[in-house]
Symmetry: C2
Subunit: 189 residues, 2 copies
């Protein structure tokens, strides 16, 4: 392993790992990946993204304008604090097998209803305007979770449109859970 | 209401509102407060704190050094994404009356175990070194939640020590849930 090269401890399915993988791909940061089979994950990886932004500012993941930066962080926090932690694996285990699908669907639906409304005033091609930001890094993994939990996305046209646009970008593809070193064979694409 | 004065929509008991109230007090930002009786809250208020930090940088709530900033954000996110959203009111309602105390205690205990370990390598008088940061704004409201849910804090000496130090500061006192305009009489102090 090359000295000084950043190491990402990653789990293919973790939304939090995926957000960081997208940031690394967008910024073209060469790194090692050590895969770990998580039984639970948290939202802490936004700290990594902010650190990457401060130490390797190009391309920007936060707009220059403070109000737009606040919009990006509001959307990121809505997803990373308001939705993802309440539907992650360790919480679903506590909820129990029988109720976990309904639980996850309720959490995502109520979060996406708020998010769709916010995006209607902030979005261009991406969550905030036309440039990819930290908010987009949060959106795509959360939509993938929604799909896994069979949430009907027709009520969220803005979310769906942005997600589709983002998934066509290289950085979102190489970082996708279906293309990671620890992705099980049956989930590869 | 004076034009241009910032308005905080606040709920006395909300951890998220409290974090912002501390930031406003530390930065000495004159503001109006509109109280709202929340039935649920989210973690989005970190976006407000980051915005305040960018537009009114003195005193700093994030250290200048990128590694220390990452520590502050890691601790803030651990609390604001990893602990608080999983024990907030709307989630406890879904968990149900009978199980909610145990649920909240489990979530807080597992979060505080991780937090205590992190603080042992980052803390001085405050969560990261000796200066008050965004991490401290997150710590104090979360310890208050832990006390409300009767979590035994003896296993967390660093958390307890820092919390005590912070509660002696003016900004943490004026922003305290027991001293807000919407605090019910029986909870005032």
């Amino acid at each position: 392993m090359q000295a000084g090269k950043p190491i990402l401890y990653s789990y293919f399915r973790s939304s939090c790992s995926w957000r960081v993988r997208i940031a690394l791909a967008l910024k073209g940061i060469d790194h090692e990946m050590i895969t770990i089979n998580l039984i639970k994950d948290g939202g802490q990886q936004l700290a990594i993204i902010e650190y990457l932004e401060e130490t390797r500012p190009t391309p920007r993941l936060l707009p220059q304008d403070p109000k737009k930066r606040a919009s990006v962080r509001m959307i990121s926090d809505l997803i990373a604090s308001g939705i993802q932690p309440v539907q992650n694996l360790s919480i679903l285990e506590q909820v129990g097998q029988e109720k976990q699908l309904t639980w996850a669907q309720n959490v995502i639906t109520s979060g996406f209803t708020a998010l769709e409304q916010i995006l209607q005033s902030t979005a261009g091609r991406c969550c905030v305007g036309d440039e990819v930001s930290m908010a987009d890094l949060c959106l795509v993994p959360q939509v993938a979770n929604a799909e896994r939990f069979k949430v009907d996305l027709t009520a969220y046209p803005t979310i769906s449109r942005i997600n589709k646009t983002l998934l066509s970008l290289e950085a979102f593809q190489v970082s996708h859970p279906c293309r990671q070193p620890d992705t099980p064979a049956e989930l590869r694409a």
